[in-house]
Amino acid sequence: MATDRKPLPPAAVEILLSLLDGPAHGYGIKHVIEERTEGRTRMRAATLYEALHRLDQRRWIEEVDPPSDTDDGATSRWRFYRLTDTGRQVLRHELARMDAIVRHARNRGLALSRDTP
């Protein structure tokens, strides 16, 4: 069952999620996460890059050149990352695991509120 797998660290999940829409650089990833969690999760700089490093070593994300539709010069120094196929798979599995848990809880009658801190 999907719930048998060991869970991913939250930082990894957030980053992988952020890259679903396409490649991004560190600062952009941070903003996406912040927006999505409505400010609840703020990733600090070094922690973010540490996590990126780990994901990169696992080959779940990879570095790419900046997309052609961004300004030259201004962003050429930023490194962009994008999901690898393996990374996409891992994310899918993780989301499935979470989903299984949520379904299990719902079946038992636990109502999930939107504002849980």
Binding site: R5, K6, P7, L8, P9, A12, D21, G22, P23, A24, H25, G26, Y27, G28, K30, H31, V32, R44, A45, A46, T47, L48, Y49, E50, L52, H53, R54, L55, Q57, R58, W60, P67, T70, D71, G73, A74, T75, R77, W78, R79, F80
Partner: protein
Amino acid sequence: MSRVPSKRSTEGLQPKPLIAILLQLLPTRFRHRYGHQLVLHLREERREKRFQGRLGGLRFWPAAILDLVSVAARLRHQHRIIDPAVSRPQPPRSHPMDSFTRDLRHAYRSLCRRPGWTLAAAATLAIGIGAASAIFGLVQGVLLAPLPYPESDRLVSMQAFLPDLGRTRGSVSYPVFEAIRDIEDATTGLGGYSVRSSTVDLGSGAERMTGAVASSAVFRALGVSPTTGRLLQTDDDVAEAAPTVVLSHGLWQERFGGDPHVVGRLIEIGEQSTEVVGVMPQGFVFPDPAIRFWRSMAGMPRQPTSHYLSMVGRLKPQEDEEAAHARLGGIRLEVPTGAPGRSGTIGLASQPFLESLVGEIRPQLMLFVLAVAGVLAIGCVNVVNLVLGRAAAREHEMSLRAALGADRARLIRLVLTETVLLGLLGGVLGLVVMVAVERGLLALASDQLPRGGNPGIHLWVFAFAFALSVTVGAVVGLLPALRASRPRAGSHLGGEGRGILGGTRRHRLRTLMAVSQIALATMLLSSASLLTISLARLSAVETGLDTHQVLTFRPALGNAYDSTEKGRAFFRATEERLRALPGTRDVAFTATAPFGGGHIGERLVVAGTPEPATPEDARVVDVQVVSDGFFELLGLRAMVGRTLQTRDEVGPSRVAVVNATLARTHFGEASAALGRTIDVGQDHRKRSLEIVGVVPDIRPYSLVRPMAPMVFEPLGEGSEEWPFASLLVRTESGTAALAAAIPDMVRAIDPAVPVTGLASLGARLDRQLALPRLRMRVLTVFAGSALLLALIGVYSVMSSLAAERTREIGVRLALGARRSQILRWLGRSGVVITAAGLLFGTFGARASARFLESYLFQLQTFDLRIVGTTALLLALAALIAVYLPARRASRLDPVDTLRTE
């Protein structure tokens, strides 16, 4: 969906130095790969709205730095690649570094959650840490920092020692200096110098400036080279040479604009044209920063009657320091004393030069250290109280952690991390306090402190502040940490307070601490008030002299005045001219000017009593030889008998007037001294004097030394003291105008006689008071802060006491107790705390009064009245601190208190 940062963000990509340093913490490969990105990222983040400006910066940087440090720590301690599939944290096997960073983060967040509390605690610590660091800076700068000369520990200062009286002379005359210099034992050439304030004209008008006169040997001994020109040389020492001067770097920059061609220019010093021959390098100071130039010895008085030189030399390279000092101490030599044709025996007293500068002030600085330690201690106790109070609220958390398997060490570490962080925060805030205290001290006292207080940024001080912050944090956290980690299964506080002080163990501790705070504050306050009253007594008319508008000066007669008649004639001429000046009310003579200058001590034996068996048993009195107008001029009236009159001055003196201390010491009371005879002096100077009057104690020499018995002899026609005489002039037309007229007047009588020691008595007195005033002010400030902190401590203990008894208050109120009864009940413990604290504090003040002994004037070190009044005032203040929380608690609505069950 990538958010593009602005173009500006890539300009000038030099990370701030701090960030660059912190980046070095990261492992090399990581840094190469991501360092760049990190800097960009941080840069962007800093630009965010919530981190804008100074306040935003304050929010931004600690977190950013903490983040960098903890990630670096994590990265460096991972020897294997962490599998991201395994979730963190893993409790039993987590690396210590992991938990350290976690603790750090936790502590930081915990402090941030209660900003008000954190700020209050940190501010309390800041006061103590800041003040302590400032005092340390003072001690380090003045006592510990080496002097700015090469091998400065080889420099020695030399003084003349009077074997008969067991005292050293403050300064020597030129012939004595020469005699000592010529010994050439142990030192490589002794230099003589004298600090004086002169009238200087640099081309833009006359002004007063502090400078020094120095022989060339001084510069040779110090071993510092000039930055321009040359030093003073042996040719400049010759009496007939043209005067030359070396400027300080500061003077050169300020007044000559750093002009490289300043050498050779002529300036006027003391109305003499003096050539500038060199400039000293920046940072050169001798003997203290106030000195702006060093003038040669040419033209300086060489009479044996003019004592003004201090001596400094450097030990020969092969000399052992202790052996040298011992050897020098054993030397005796014959030197001219100043009376025509006479000579006397002196010895030598040598000590390291630094010691001669700072030896006297050391006890004073130690007093400050003790006082500031007291303030720090009180502040720490306050913070311990605060932490304990907060710890109560976190009992839950602690018990939970313990249940989850955190070992005791871990819990202790948790608490300690938080308090050390708090301590560091206090240290940072304390920097402000430190700068303020340092500035204040220097403003008040840089002319009182040797080496001018040696101001400037010393790295030692910052290191000390840091170490102190960490230590304070650890100490403050120790007790709460131990308590928090004690295994407590389930049950929390054991019941409400029983008994007067509150039954719970925790509360007993807190009340004990409040007691100790009050005790410490009492001690500090008593010291401060003792010093204050002492100062008040010093500056009041307790001096016994009417010093308004009195000027004193001493014409230094030269060898030409080799007979008493010539000396007396000179002074009579001076007196005539002085009386001729408009505004002169009175003129008198004395062989020793009041308030400064050397004094003559001689042996005293009451006629009819046996001679003392050994020299140590002999009584010594201060002898003043004065003209008849002396007492009138200063407004002294005889208590019994009469003062000296003109007729006493004819023939060899047979009568004398004594002061009240002498009368009391030797005869029991003033009236008993009248008519008695005393034998004063030794050998050929021995004489018998009949006491014809007793005057009140005055303080001619030093305000702070204990009152000595004094004999006043008439300055007779035939007296040998004439060449040494000083004049006192009372004027109604302003001492400044008179002071300006006197040098010309003396020069008109004899151009070869210089005027020395020209000053108003009032000014001399003020100078004497400056140091006691400094002491008093510093102690008062410390005592005031100590009081404030102690009162806060008492207030907080009382508040928490009352808070803990809320339920019981409710019960009592519901059972019909009146509010006044509740108030009394709550206040009881506060009263006991205050009383106990005062009691211990008073005992402590008595014990510690020893330190103040030398500083207290005319006071018992433990004057019960003063200490008692202080204690009373403190009690009043403390009782307010007790009353307020009690009153608030007694006003509670019983329904509320019972409901919050």
